[in-house]
């Protein structure tokens, strides 16, 4: 390299360093270059002057004379081609092209750039855009590379204007009580850089005034200062979701020359939306270190669904679904991480309803059955295996998964029976948000008309009115049935026999719809399908008052946890809606329960209450409150602020309790998944079962299950628990009858008393009462004995002249009483006792001679506690026959029991 080139290279290096470190090129004197290069100063000087003469470098006159490289040489180094900070923004040359050009102009505008106002809905990426502007300003050298970017959200202190002002502009010591030292504000921190004020419409009037002054003059005062003024050199970027026509913003736009509009997600093209989705998917894949696939339908839903909070929401929705899919993968549901349609929250799934209209525009993104996003490669890999969103397929899939677990046919039928109603209800609930116009978009109008006619007819026949929801739900159902029948797939209804038996009238009426469909569509509708139609008629869907809202209560341990979560949520919701209840650690559960009962009574507006709790006994309060007050309560455990927020948001939209519950649950990928998996019975059921039923949600039913299993040692006793999630007493009774036919139901634990004498009933509250629970325990331990006792009924009826039914039932109670006192008898003694006591009763009733026992008195005296126990335990028998046994009789019972 020639000397002159060496000099040029060195000069360039120093200039770039200056630009990088100081933001400006100040230039370089000949002597400095000479020292760095170790060349004689005179030589360097002559080279520099030569280059200046050739127009290769810039000479800055002064003392000393400085040289620097030319500006265009600079941009060659910094703006390599088209790449700049904005390029990484998706849509920078599509919907955002205009915005990007404006932003570049604002930054480049001499001398210091233009203050800018960014407008856009929540989640459109205003903050990200402002940051990109900052990056760009650094890139082109408008600000130094170490220049500050300070972001401030004006909503953060909106309730405390003084604090907000202090944060923004700094405080002089003594400005107000508590200002015990000088404090600099973020305006000063942003000096020589960019100040980003988010949600600027939340700035209080005092703040606006000072901000305008700052904008106009570049000067400001600390809080508490009267005369001193400080000068800063900052570029201000403001952002707001408000309408630009609002009064505040008008005063803003007068002063802020550059207004940039960021388009909402809806306004952006599907290409952009797909790119955004792809980006977030790859982000997630990178986080979990695993490729993520999405089924074609799920991708369509993501492209189409209504996403009012724009990209921000899209991102968190993708995060959530990816987390669910990952959990499915971890728990061996899938062999890879796949987002299925059924993992999506309802509101995303609803996007699919728009599919028909947008088909042409989005099909190109979802050509394959499954689309994969890989960590390393940015491109997308297609794979096969398809899934669709359909009521039948949901049932079929459930069936298959049960079969795979090796569960026997009877148990599968039982489980499907219990689930089918829930499926249907969800189906209907999903449909209800649509009006007729929208329904026509998804369902052939002919079908809707047929169903409408049919429901009118059925209403007359059954003297009942059907709600709109039934029309929508049934129409959608019939549409998918017709599709299914036409494609030759089987329709299977496990409850058909029961339906025909229990809902005879409805079944008869439903045949009418079968006829109508067959005539109109020229297909054959099987009886199984008539069964489904019947079920739609039998679901009593409550007409809710839509104007009322579900109340949302947070109850947590600790002095202030619940109220602060409620507080944060309310502030974010912008409405005082969520109520917090703090349960100090030393508070007795009974007191907390009472307080909560009162609170729930007070807050309930007739549409029920969603209770979000952290842990422990609070999980069960919902059912207990229901037991006491009859107010429907659903409980979500392990609640977090986002869950509370989502529940609040949903409730404010007048959603039903069920929907609010689902929305909160959906937000916790863990809980949702855990419940779902736990609820799918793993191996079918043993013959002896205990039923736990909760109206408050799966969480409580499962918690009850695990508590009972532990306390009663059910595993080793060979007893299964069937947890039921029920909505009302009728549904409970129906399900109970179903189970009773298949299984030996030992007991029912629930907030509802099913009113069935043949079942032992334990209320939810009793589960925590060890005394009550020990009677259940005694019953479980005595199962064999009770069998023996039952088997003796015929013998008694044959041989003894007393009411055998009554006697056996009373004897069982007697037996359970002594079992509770830890007396376990072998079969010999049980049989002996049954016969003995039966004969004794018969004799008393017939006025026959009673037994006399020698030294009866002394036996009693020596075994006084046993005597008392027996005497108390035998009471049910005495009462059943309205007799009183003699002491001699008690002693003879004692003799048998204790081998005296």
């Amino acid at each position: 390299m020639k000397r002159i080139d060496k000099v040029y290279e060195k000069l360039k290096e120093i200039c770039l360093r200056q630009l990088k470190n100081d933001g400006v090129i100040t230039g370089c004197a000949a002597i400095d270059l000479a020292n760095e290069l170790n060349i004689h100063r005179a030589n360097v000087s002559s080279d520099l002057n030569k280059m200046h003469k050739d127009g290769k470098i810039v000479k800055i006159e002064g003392k000393p004379v400085l040289f620097s490289i030319k500006q265009d040489e600079l941009s060659k180094n910094f703006n390599t081609g088209e790449e700049d900070a904005f390029r990484k923004i998706i849509g920078s040359n599509l919907s955002l092209k205009n915005a990007v050009q404006q932003a570049k102009a604002a930054i480049m505008y001499p001398p210091h750039g233009l203050h800018t106002l960014i407008l856009g809905e929540t989640g459109t990426g205003k903050s990200m855009f402002a940051e990109t502007m900052y990056e760009y300003a650094k890139e082109i050298g408008r600000i130094k590379t170490n220049a500050p970017f300070v972001a401030f959200n004006c909503a953060d202190y909106a309730n405390n204007p003084q604090l907000l002002m202090a944060q923004l502009f700094g405080v002089k010591k003594g400005a107000y009580t508590g200002a015990d030292k000088d404090k600099i504000g973020i305006v000063e921190k942003a000096d020589k850089g960019i100040l980003f004020l988010d949600e600027v419409h939340r700035l209080p009037p005092e703040g606006q005034e000072m901000l305008f002054y700052l904008i106009d003059k570049g000067m400001f005062r600390h809080l508490g200062e009267t005369d001193a003024q400080h000068k800063v050199d900052i570029l201000i970027i403001c952002a707001t979701t408000e309408n630009v026509e609002s009064i505040l913003l008008k005063t803003f736009t007068r002063r802020i020359p550059m207004v940039i509009n960021l388009p909402s997600l809806k306004e952006r093209t599907y290409e952009e939306r797909f790119e955004i989705i792809k980006n977030f998917m790859i982000d997630e894949a990178t986080i979990i270190k695993n490729d993520i696939s999405i089924t074609s339908n799920a991708l369509k839903a993501f492209l189409l669904y209504d996403c009012p909070n724009n990209i921000g929401q899209l991102k968190s929705d993708i995060k959530l679904c990816a987390a669910k899919a990952y959990l499915g993968f971890m728990m061996n549901r899938d062999r890879e991480v796949v987002i299925h349609t059924e993992d999506l929250p309802q509101y995303i799934k609803r996007g699919l309803f728009k599919y028909k209209e947008e088909k042409d525009k989005i099909d190109k993104f979802a050509k394959d059955d499954k689309i994969m996003f890989s960590i390393d490669k940015m491109d997308i890999i297609a794979s096969e295996d398809s899934k669709s969103f359909n009521f039948y397929e949901a049932l079929e899939e459930k069936r298959k998964s049960l079969e795979k677990k090796g569960i026997n046919e009877d148990d599968i039928k039982l489980i499907m029976n219990l689930d089918i109603e829930t499926y249907l209800k969800r189906y209907i609930n999903e449909a209800k948000r649509y009006n007729l116009e929208e329904l026509y978009k998804v369902v052939d109008k002919r079908i809707v008309d047929i169903v409408d006619n049919f429901l009118n007819h059925a209403g007359k026949m059954l003297k009942r009115e059907f709600s709109e929801k039934t029309l929508y739900g049934l129409s959608m159902h019939v549409a998918s049935s017709i599709e299914r029948i036409s494609s030759g797939k089987k329709i299977e209804n496990h409850q058909l026999d029961d339906i025909k038996r229990i809902y005879k009238d409805e079944f008869e009426v439903s045949k009418e719809l079968k006829k109508l469909i067959e005539r109109e569509f020229d297909i054959e509708v099987p009886e199984d399908e008539v069964g489904f139609i019947t079920m739609f008629l039998c679901l009593d869907i409550k007409q809710e008052k839509d104007e009322e809202k579900v109340s949302v209560i947070v109850a947590m341990h600790g002095e202030s946890t619940a109220t602060s979560i409620a507080d944060v949520s309310n502030r974010l919701l912008g409405e005082n809606f969520v109520v917090g209840y703090n349960m100090p650690l030393d508070q007795k559960p009974e007191i907390a329960l009472n307080n909560l009962c009162d609170l729930i009574k007070k807050t309930n507006k007739g549409k029920g209450v969603l209770l979000l709790v952290d842990m422990g006994s609070l999980v069960f309060f919902g059912d207990m409150v229901y037991e006491k007050t009859g107010i429907p309560v659903k409980t979500v455990e392990m609640a977090s602020t986002p869950m509370v927020l989502e529940a609040g948001r949903k409730a404010l939209l007048n959603a039903s309790l069920e929907e609010v519950y689902d929305s909160a649950l959906n937000l916790s990928p863990y809980i949702g998944r855990i419940y779902k998996d736990n609820f799918e019975m793993q191996n079918g059921f043993k013959n002896d079962v205990i039923i736990t039923a909760c109206i408050t949600g799966e969480g409580t039913a499962l918690k009850l299950k695990s508590i009972l299993e532990k306390k009663l040692d059910l595993k080793s006793a060979g007893i299964d628990i069937i947890p039921l999630n029920i909505e009302d007493k009728r549904e409970f009774k129906r399900k109970l009858q179903n189970i009773k036919r298949e299984k030996n139901v030992l007991a029912v634990v629930s907030a509802f008393d099913p009113g069935d004498d043949t079942l032992k009933y334990i209320s939810t509250t009793d589960v925590f009462d060890n005394r009550k629970l020990s009677s259940l325990k005694a019953m479980i331990d005595s199962r064999d004995a009770l069998d023996t006792i039952n088997n003796m009924k015929e013998i008694i009826a044959e041989n003894v002249d007393i009411d055998a039914d009554r006697y056996i039932n009373a004897f069982k109670e007697f037996y359970l009483n002594i079992a509770e006192n830890n007396v376990i008898l072998d079969n010999d003694k049980i049989i002996g006792l049954i016969l003995h006591l039966a004969c004794a009763i018969e004799r008393v009733l017939n006025g026959g001679e009673l037994i006399r026992i020698k030294n009866c008195k002394s036996i009693i005296e020596n075994n006084i506690s046993k005597y008392e126990m027996i005497k108390t335990s035998v009471k049910p028998v005495n009462e059943a026959f309205n007799v009183t046994l003699s002491d001699d009789e008690y002693v003879s019972i004692m003799k048998i029991i204790y081998s005296l």
């Binding site: 023996t788 041989n799 079969n827 049989i831 002996g832 016969l835 039966a838 037994i851 048998i896 081998s899």
Partner: protein, 101 residues
């Protein structure tokens, strides 16, 4: 031939006695059958050939053997399967079998 049934109060065994007598008549076996409370047994051991004890008082077996075996009386416990069904015929057969030995 005389068979004695024993239980704690002689109550439940009395059911069995009736059934056994019916069975004996059917079979044409001539036999005397009585039921006693344990406390009354000692006074009623004359001419007894076999004593059968109700299963619920199985614990009395040794005690009764001590007083009965010296007199050449066989003692056994009725299985609860027979007892629970109040199976007169079954218990009678059992007694007859014991006597055959």
């Amino acid at each position: 031939m005389k068979i004695v049934l024993v239980c704690s109060a002689g109550m439940s065994t009395s059911l069995l006695v009736k059934k056994m007598k019916d069975a004996a008549a059917k079979k044409g076996v001539e036999v005397e059958i009585e039921a006693y409370a344990e406390a009354d047994l000692k006074r009623n051991l004359e001419n007894v050939d076999v004593i059968l004890i109700g299963p619920q008082v199985r614990y009395l077996l040794e005690k009764i053997k001590q007083i009965a075996e010296p007199k050449g009386i066989a003692v056994d416990v009725i299985e609860s399967k027979l007892y629970g069904k109040v199976d007169g015929e079954g218990v009678l057969d059992k007694a007859l079998n014991i006597l055959k030995k």
